[in-house]
């Protein structure tokens, strides 16, 4: 990488004064080669991060990322951009802690502005039971080495005075605050990892749908694609909501149902909400984007869907809930809404593991929490692919935990069955 390829304040100034004619594409558009050491299926945040860390941490160079559409066109471009490390259970706790640390160094590491904004997340609670759970969670987070504070009503009011503290059904008692949490510019995360991987020589191949996975004698040998067959020593699946279809090409049936989660954004407003705020009532969350739009959402629609759009009942529910908790939002006009395809596992936690087929690796089941996981998912998946051993931060994301019942990670405590998370 030459110095001219680096972004800097000086470079922005120079380009601005010379007509912005010196910018070049962030990555190449290569033809697929006939064979690679590692083929990654899926050019989203997790697939691109995996390619980047395979190259950076493990010295591999002969890598391809195969993407059906365009880079970052799936869930990494369709989420609500929240980054946090406030998980409770062993397994998740150390993983998301690792992820937040990677987020904090990512922009320097990638030389790319991901607009990482550690504005803090407030998890609002409404009653004694939720308060006790929040205190327990805070202690768990602190034990993990991350930051957590409990704010009670009066402290919270000085921070976010505009909430409805006296809702009859869901009065606000306080909140769990994690100051290091926040938001990042979702597209830029994909682009940053793509550019970083490309600079290491990784081939990012778009418009290249995988149509088959070649297995010989229980070992993966390559893939069939829309742009011809490609041989590979190892094949790594990072296809998010489409994981079931991709895995089926290798004869695997996954413990995954794909569901729709809707999100909403209002017209751009002046800065009004400084934090990410979530509510124990209604799975509700809201933050303000750098463009000024209020970004919010709540539950899944709770039926299987690949439509990438939801239905009116959950939209109504979300509007009612946000109006009840943040009444000022009702003055803003809704600009648009969208739906993402969520690869839901029975216990609501992800899978980073070997498959029964030698050389075929699986990264899936991110449910509605994949964005914050992006760097650690890539780092841990790369570690597994390169060394055939799980990364220390991702030892419990096992594919067979549902069959055995050992090591289930059910953060919500609702049971390890489909349609409960």
């Amino acid at each position: 990488m030459g110095i001219s390829d680096r972004f800097s304040g000086w470079r922005v100034l120079k380009e601005g004064l010379t007509g912005n004619k010196g910018w070049t594409p962030h990555w190449r558009d290569p033809e697929p080669k006939r064979d690679y050491d590692v083929v990654i299926v899926g050019g989203g945040g997790h697939g691109l991060a995996t390619a980047y860390y395979l190259a950076k941490e493990h010295g591999l160079r002969n890598i391809a990322v195969l993407e059906k559409g365009y880079l970052g066109g799936g869930n990494v471009g369709r989420n609500t951009t929240i980054v946090r490390a406030n998980y409770y259970l062993p397994g998740n706790s150390e993983f998301y802690s690792h992820s937040l640390k990677l987020w904090e160094g990512m922009e320097q590491d990638l030389n790319y502005n991901a607009m990482m904004s550690q504005r803090g997340i407030l998890n609002v609670f409404h009653n004694d039971g939720q308060r006790d759970a929040a205190v327990r969670r805070a202690n768990s987070i602190i034990n993990q080495g991350d930051d957590a504070e409990i704010l009670y009503r009066d402290q919270l009011k000085t921070l976010v005075p505009f909430l409805n503290y006296d809702n009859n059904r869901f009065p606000i008692m306080g909140a769990l605050l994690q100051r290091r949490a926040g938001t990042a510019r979702h597209d830029a995360v994909a682009w940053g990892f793509a550019r970083g991987a490309d600079q290491f020589g990784v081939d990012l191949i778009q418009n290249c749908e995988v149509t088959g996975i070649d297995v010989e004698g229980g070992k993966v040998v390559g893939v069939q694609t829309a742009r011809g067959p490609i041989r590979a020593k190892k094949v790594a699946l990072a296809a998010a909501g489409r994981s079931s279809q991709v895995a089926a090409m290798a004869g695997l049936t996954l413990p995954i149902e794909s569901h729709v989660l809707q999100a909403f954004v209002t017209e751009g407003l002046k800065p009004v909400i400084d934090h990410v705020i979530t509510f124990a009532e209604g799975h509700l969350y809201i933050s303000q984007s750098d463009k000024g739009g209020l970004v919010f959402g709540s539950y899944l629609d709770f039926y299987s869907s690949y439509a990438a759009r939801g239905n009116l009942p959950m939209q109504e529910y979300t509007m009612e809930a946000i109006a009840a908790m943040v009444p000022a939002v009702t003055k803003a006009r809704l600009l648009r809404s969208w739906g993402g395809i969520m690869d839901m596992t029975p216990d609501g936690s992800p899978i980073i593991d070997h498959t029964p087929i030698e050389g075929l690796y699986l990264n899936a089941g991110w449910c509605y929490g994949g964005f914050k996981a992006t760097p650690a998912s890539g780092d841990c998946f790369a570690h597994l692919i390169a060394t055939d051993r799980p990364h220390a931060a991702a030892t419990r994301f096992k594919l067979d935990r549902f069959r055995s019942g050992y090591g289930l990670m059910d953060e919500e405590g609702t049971g390890a069955q489909h349609n409960l998370h």
Partner: protein, 92 residues
């Protein structure tokens, strides 16, 4: 989405609760692999899917609905008991 309940007619999706994929229940003495498949593993198709909905805000009937998960189009509805999905004696 609207679902045409065989007993009540076409009703709004709000009246129904999703109960997951419509799968035959294994025999009690079936092994771990069969029960694991029933409880956890899913074909998860992007297309027609047979699934269970309950008309719990209406007549209460359990329905077997065939629905296209890629478009949300309703392709068919039957009472679960007529579709051979009724719980039999001795089943959980």
């Amino acid at each position: 989405m609207r679902i045409t309940c065989p007993l009540c007619g076409a009703r709004d999706r709000r009246e129904f609760t999703y109960k997951g994929a419509a799968l035959p229940v294994p025999a009690l003495e079936a092994g771990v692999a069969e029960w694991d498949a029933h409880v956890h593993l899913r074909d998860n198709p992007a297309g027609p899917l047979e699934e269970l909905w309950q008309h719990d805000m209406g007549c209460g009937a359990w329905l077997k609905v065939t629905r296209n998960t890629a478009t949300h189009e309703m392709l068919g509805v039957a009472l679960a008991q007529d579709a051979g999905l009724a719980i039999k004696e001795g089943q959980p």
